[in-house]
Subunit: 259 residues, 2 copies
DNA sequence: AAGATACTGTTATAATATTAACAAAACATG
DNA sequence: CATGTTTTGTTAATATTATAACAGTATCTT
């Protein structure tokens, strides 16, 4: 039970490097029999981490996305509100225009934004999370600025005073910010203290600010406050948003995109 | 000739979505025989785009593409001194010990170092290149610090004043630095001006400095000087190094690892 | 330490994929 | 439109991989 865990992790690691591997290779690398590898792969397959093909196994691309509790979470299915997040991200990408300089916050919703980012608009993108970077690095003709720092596994975000300084020095036309909680009375919150200053810097350096959150976040409160609702110009969310919060946003003069 | 091109593109697109696919699937999807797919895959394999495995093909991750340490190597596309770089990287990884804080420079040789990095030594890794980050992000129990900035496509490196400040603020036990040229008279050089200050910061923040270069770099000079040979304590290279340079390094009191 | 349980390795057999050689079709060119 | 060339499809023989059943080993519990 303990040894298998280690093997499974190693297998995932090898697959992450090569996208795929053969049963033979894995058996050789881990010094176990073919059957053991096959049985391991069955487990990983059952968790939707890999896809077994004749001769080996392929890492399922989605397994990169499901950030969360750990870098590779066996038990967490991930996939909360995935379809909504996808639609929100697509909508946000559609709002981007020629020559825009955009800041993309960390988060799984913003990851979809990054994925749907058009690559023919002469864009500059500033970001600070691993998953966002991965999505953008594949695209052509996008100028990438990454503000670094210490890596935080649970959010895939990098953070440091120097990174914050870099963001403050830059200027963006649009910032797409995520949040863990959006409350009328207590403002916009995230769940890790280290996120705070980076998010604030992103907001302060941008002309237009978009809050991208799925509807489950409205009414929620997390520990760290980083902005007021009024700091944003637009909110992009899914149709699950309550009438109450629709009214609140309208009252505050925020533009609302519902997908 | 025309039709094949289109098929090859489609195959790549399918692989990019799934990382890999089977011959059967591809044959069904493109409505051609499995032999045609096999022949197509052979072509793609010859271009180092995919890796053929029993039953299908796997997309080769970008990090494997050899974007060399100098501009001219872009033309000599692909595997230059790959095996040597691999061995050098492996050797360098073997020199790392429990609790080390290491800085890994950009480059393809250092990419192998990152790949072979042990993951059970409670390490801290500071880096600033995409390919290095990709390798390390997969590993567990490694503290990652990334100094960001503007992305440079040809070297996969990020660079900015804030990134340099971040490196200078940190302290490392070992730095593994690459170079495009190593000359007795003119010192250690790289081929892009933007690399200079980052490399200098890496050197200045590290206790022990290792120069990791394949033997073809000795005697070469590139445009940007960033260090003297004496700034390093060890050199790791392959057996192609000339007797002359062996002598020079010995004279200067540098440790020499030949793999 | 004994017994139960889970894990791993070894086979023989079944299923699937690869190769090579040839035939058919599509294509280009004079 | 005939001919040489390239591309694609078909087939049978060959090679590789998958499966299942069982035996051995390790691990855990009491």
């Amino acid at each position: 039970m303990e040894k298998r865990e280690k093997r499974l992790e190693k297998i995932i690691r090898i697959l992450k490097m090569n996208n795929a591997s053969t049963v033979q290779e894995l058996a050789g690398e881990l010094d176990v029999s073919h059957m053991t590898i096959r049985r391991d792969l069955e487990v990983l397959s059952g968790q939707n981490m890999v896809r077994i093909i004749h001769g080996g196994a392929v890492l399922i691309p989605e397994s990169f996305e499901d950030k969360g509790e750990s870098s590779y979470s066996l038990l967490t299915a991930g996939a909360v509100k995935t379809e909504e997040k996808r639609r929100i991200g697509k909508k946000a990408a559609g709002l981007i225009g020629e020559g825009d300089i955009i800041i993309i916050d960390s988060g799984s919703t913003t990851e979809y934004l990054a994925r749907f980012l058009p690559d023919d608009l002469n864009l500059t993108v500033l970001c600070f999370a691993m998953n966002i970077l991965k999505e953008i690095a594949g695209k052509r003709d996008i100028k990438i600025i990454f503000s670094g720092g210490v890596f935080h596994e649970n959010t895939l975000m990098f953070e440091s005073p120097e990174g914050i300084a870099l963001i403050k020095r830059n200027r963006a036309t649009k910032a797409f910010i995520s949040a863990s909680g959006v409350s009328e009375k207590l403002g916009v919150t995230c769940s890790n203290t280290y996120e705070r200053e980076t998010k604030r810097a992103a907001i302060s350096s941008s002309l237009k600010r978009y809050l991208v959150v799925d509807s489950s976040k409205f009414g929620k409160v997390q520990s760290d406050h980083f902005a007021e609702l009024e700091d944003f110009h637009y909110v992009i969310t899914d149709s699950g948003i309550s009438g109450e919060y629709k009214g609140i946003l309208k009252e505050l003069g925020l533009g609302l995109y519902i997908v």
